[in-house]
């Protein structure tokens, strides 16, 4: 088991380095730099700026600086926010992203698992069918539509929640919910499939024949095993949260990683874009890694199968 984990850890490091290099060179090959604006800069001024940020050096040298900086955890100064380092920006953005993303995962579990259970348990009845339909509809909606509907309902019509911005728990409720509902839908479908399969399995029939019923049956024999696919989904779920956050943060005006990433890419803020890319890759890798570890501890058979 340790060998496998070690290999995964090494793969993660390799992936980060590869993504870092790819992003670095990709951004540099496109036209336009961070100092190209509507008002033309004096050529001397532009040169001075480029010298200050080391952008006039050969590309390979710049890459080397970026690489050594990455090793030390120093991404350099932001090219757009003149007095701020990328590390500071990331440190500011991470708590917001964690709050929203963590909340989304939480909603995903809180809504998804019960919904899946209902869909599985009442599978042939209207209740179960409705649960499945709900999940399917949620998966067919772009998340910005969901966000729009939520704002229209909870902010404009009912006035219960603020439509955007930061400032407290109330401001995080809608964004995390909108990010989490599609996850809940997917989780519910996974749980439904696993639970109904478990329900029909030999072991459960045996247990029922022995007189085991109700809560204990559900808990020990159906719910717990059904959680395996949910855990396996943690990696893709994190990926979905990272992608979806680009849209959700923009709609709700949250200063998280997604906002920074889009801005940095559009403004050619090379250092910030690289920093966010590395953080994203690391987050995704860690989530998948963590899910793998949990899965292996949960069910040694998973490891044997792979």
């Amino acid at each position: 088991m340790n060998a496998r984990l070690l290999r995964r850890a090494l793969m993660l490091v390799a992936t980060i380095l590869l993504v870092h290099a790819a992003a670095f060179f990709l951004m540099r090959t496109t036209r336009g730099g961070p100092f190209d604006e509507a008002r033309a800069l004096d050529p001397q001024v532009k040169l001075a700026l480029e010298q200050r940020y080391g952008l006039d050096e050969p590309l390979a040298v710049q890459y080397w600086h970026a690489l050594t900086g990455l090793w030390q955890g120093d991404f350099g100064p932001s090219l757009r926010y003149r007095e701020v380092s990328v590390a500071d920006l990331l440190a500011d953005a991470l708590p917001v992203s964690f709050a929203v993303g963590g909340g989304a995962l939480l909603w995903g579990l809180l809504f998804g698992i019960p919904l899946g259970m209902v869909a599985a348990g009442a599978r042939r009845r209207l209740l179960g069918q409705s649960a499945t339909t709900l999940a399917t509809v949620l998966l067919a909606l772009p998340n910005f539509v969901l966000a729009g509907a939520a704002i229209a309902l909870f902010s404009f019509a009912l006035g219960w929640l603020p439509p955007a911005g930061t400032g407290g728990l109330a401001h995080l409720f809608l964004p995390s919910l909108c990010l989490g509902l599609p996850l809940a839908a997917q989780i519910s479908l996974l749980v439904r499939d696993a639970a109904s399969e478990r329900w029909q399995s030999a072991g459960v029939r045996h247990a029922r024949a022995l007189g085991l019923s109700g809560q204990r049956l559900w808990w020990a024999h159906i719910l717990k095993p059904s959680l395996t696919p949910v855990l396996a989904f943690l990696g893709p779920a994190t990926a979905a949260v990272l992608t979806g956050s680009l849209v959700i943060e923009r709609i709700f005006a949250l200063p998280g990683l997604g906002t920074f990433f889009v801005e940095a890419a559009l403004n050619r803020d090379y250092t910030l874009a690289l920093g966010v890319t590395v953080v994203y890759t690391a987050l995704l890798g860690l989530a998948t890694f963590f899910a793998d570890v949990l899965l292996m501890k949960l069910d040694p058979r998973v490891e044997a199968l792979s």
């Binding site: 067919a140 910005f144 990926a239």
Partner: protein
């Protein structure tokens, strides 16, 4: 009941596709024409069945032409994804051993690259001002379709690999291999034809994801070039129109409804093949 639902879904998709294809010849208003006197008309207004947007453009026409782009992106993007994924997975499953391990490791590595990096790629490379290949008809839209395809080939590859693995173990294929049939011939004669049903389902199930991805990219401003519209773009514009003072709900609701209905229909048709209800 399920068969009825499936038939309904098929019917809807067929009507939609036909309408999208013949849209330029249908007697609707040009979707680009702006009319200052007909701005923000709600659905049911005279001359504009589904209403108009803030520039007086007819929403029905825009939805029809949006269907063209959304369906095109969905179908062709998915096709590209399958064209990449299918051979990849089929070869991995067929050859097995080191080839399989290498290909799957590579797939794993690519899977751990966040989608955002792809978005960065799209932002950077695709939006270059001059696309030299335009002279041979390979313009921005075509490049966009290919790029979208690149985002979705992995699931197809995995399914193709699993199926290919299964098929290659079947007696008649093993026999063919023992008789010295080349990999390529095995693929062509035995694997690919048997892969067809699974792939058809895969295609139908991936199209919704591609269409949603296009909506996502449109929201970020990376969608198709103006004046062309897609449902995702229309929904995203409709979202931008939302504010507490002016309630033009149809601008968001109608494109979203179009998206949801189509995606539901696609899922119904795709799942209907293998659902064990």
């Amino acid at each position: 009941m399920n068969l009825w639902a499936k038939r309904l879904a098929w019917g809807f998709l067929v009507v939609l596709t036909v309408a999208a294809i013949v849209a330029p010849w249908l007697p609707v208003v040009d979707y680009r024409v702006m009319d200052a006197d007909a701005r923000l008309l709600p659905p049911g207004s005279a001359g504009h069945v589904l209403g108009t947007d803030a520039q007086g453009r007819d929403l029905l026409a825009r939805l029809l032409f949006g269907a063209r782009i959304s369906l095109l992106v969905g179908a062709v993007g998915t096709l590209v994804a399958m064209l990449i994924g299918l051979p990849y997975g089929a070869v991995a499953g067929l050859r097995g051993g080191r080839v399989d391990r290498f290909l799957m490791r590579l797939a794993d590595a690519l899977e751990s690259v966040p989608m955002v990096v792809m978005v960065l790629f799209l932002l950077s490379v695709l939006r270059e001002y001059r696309v030299e290949m335009e002279v041979i008809g390979f313009g921005r839209l075509q490049l966009f379709l290919v790029a979208i395809g690149f985002l979705f080939w992995l699931p197809t590859a995995r399914v193709a690999r699993a199926e290919s693995l299964r098929i290659s173990r079947l007696p008649f294929v093993t026999a063919a291999r023992l008789q010295g049939m080349s990999t390529f011939a095995q693929l062509r004669r035995h694997i690919l034809p048997n892969l067809w049903p699974t792939l058809r389902v895969m295609w139908l199930l991936t199209i919704p994801r591609v269409i949603l991805m296009e909506a996502f990219l449109s929201f970020l401003g990376l969608g198709v070039e103006a004046p062309a519209v897609s449902w995702g773009g229309l929904a995203s514009d409709g979202l931008a129109a939302m504010n507490p003072l002016v309630a033009s709900w149809w601008l968001l609701a109608l494109p979203s409804a179009a998206l949801v209905l189509t995606l539901l229909a696609l899922q119904q048709v795709g799942r209907g093949e293998d659902s064990a209800v």
